[in-house]
């Protein structure tokens, strides 16, 4: 498992639609798989993703078994000013993995 990553344009104009890309390395084990000896592999899933802009939630995802390992998420956001973006991946165990980005304005 590693630190999640976030990618967004460095700057935007007010009203622009900006694309936010995030990813995290995670096995996303569903608990349904077996190892080569036939033993069940313990469940270990990220079940939630949340994105906040200036503290307000702008996007979230609830992840089920069909979400892939090393999940990626891309979503849009309207630039309404300088924005401090915080994203967090939340594991079923409660562990949280946070990545932050900043959108500045250009004229």
């Amino acid at each position: 498992m590693s630190t999640p990553r976030i990618r967004l344009p460095a700057s935007a104009r007010i009203g622009d639609t900006v694309e936010i890309r995030t990813l995290i390395d995670h096995p996303m084990e569903t608990g349904l798989r077996r190892d080569e000896r036939g033993q069940p592999i313990a469940r270990n899933m990220l079940i939630r993703f949340e994105a906040r802009a200036n503290g307000e939630q702008v996007f979230a995802a609830d992840l089920a078994n069909g979400a892939s390992a090393n999940p990626t998420l891309t979503f849009n956001l309207r630039a309404t000013g300088e924005m401090s973006i915080e994203t967090v991946w939340i594991a079923e165990s409660g562990a949280r993995f946070t990545a932050r980005g900043r959108l500045t304005l250009r004229s």
Partner: protein, 151 residues
């Protein structure tokens, strides 16, 4: 219903039923019951409209463990009316749920891209729920060369 029409469907109910049959593509006609249950749990029993949603997936996925998927609702949203939720389901995975996304007025153009697991070739279903309760859906068939293990 007042019970006076036990002999059969009223003309109105009959034409309604016929329209439903015609409008529903075969794609959605026979979903496995656990898929149907997962959809109902997510979107309730609101009437569902076909189309209005772009679902982009590869026709043939080499690796079922990492299948790129993109859902795009071809519409700008803002104050007043926006896409509230997008739900993805798989028809032939061990469990039907893939992911559910929560969007809002800040989402601008409602678009979500991610990667999913498909255990075998099957249909992927996207349901889009608007803030005013309108539900739209679309489906895409994906062939899978190597299944994404037991998902």
């Amino acid at each position: 219903m007042n019970g006076q029409n036990k002999g059969g469907l009223s003309r109105r109910a009959f034409s309604g039923a016929l329209l439903t049959l015609v409008a529903a593509p075969q794609a959605f006609a026979a979903l496995p019951s656990e898929v149907e249950a997962a959809i109902r749990a997510a979107v309730g029993h609101a009437p569902v409209r076909d189309g209005g949603v772009v679902l982009r997936v590869p026709e043939l996925a080499e690796n079922g463990a990492q299948v790129p998927i993109l859902v795009d609702v071809d519409s700008e949203t803002g104050p007043g009316r926006h896409v509230a939720r997008i739900h993805l389901f798989a028809t032939r995975n061990p469990t039907p749920g893939i992911a559910s996304f929560t969007l809002g007025p800040a989402s601008a153009r409602p678009l979500v891209a991610t990667r999913i697991r498909l255990a075998e070739g099957q249909q992927v279903l996207a349901y889009v729920v608007w803030s005013d309760g309108v539900v739209m859906r679309t489906a895409a068939e994906v062939k899978v060369s190597v299944g994404g293990c037991a998902t």
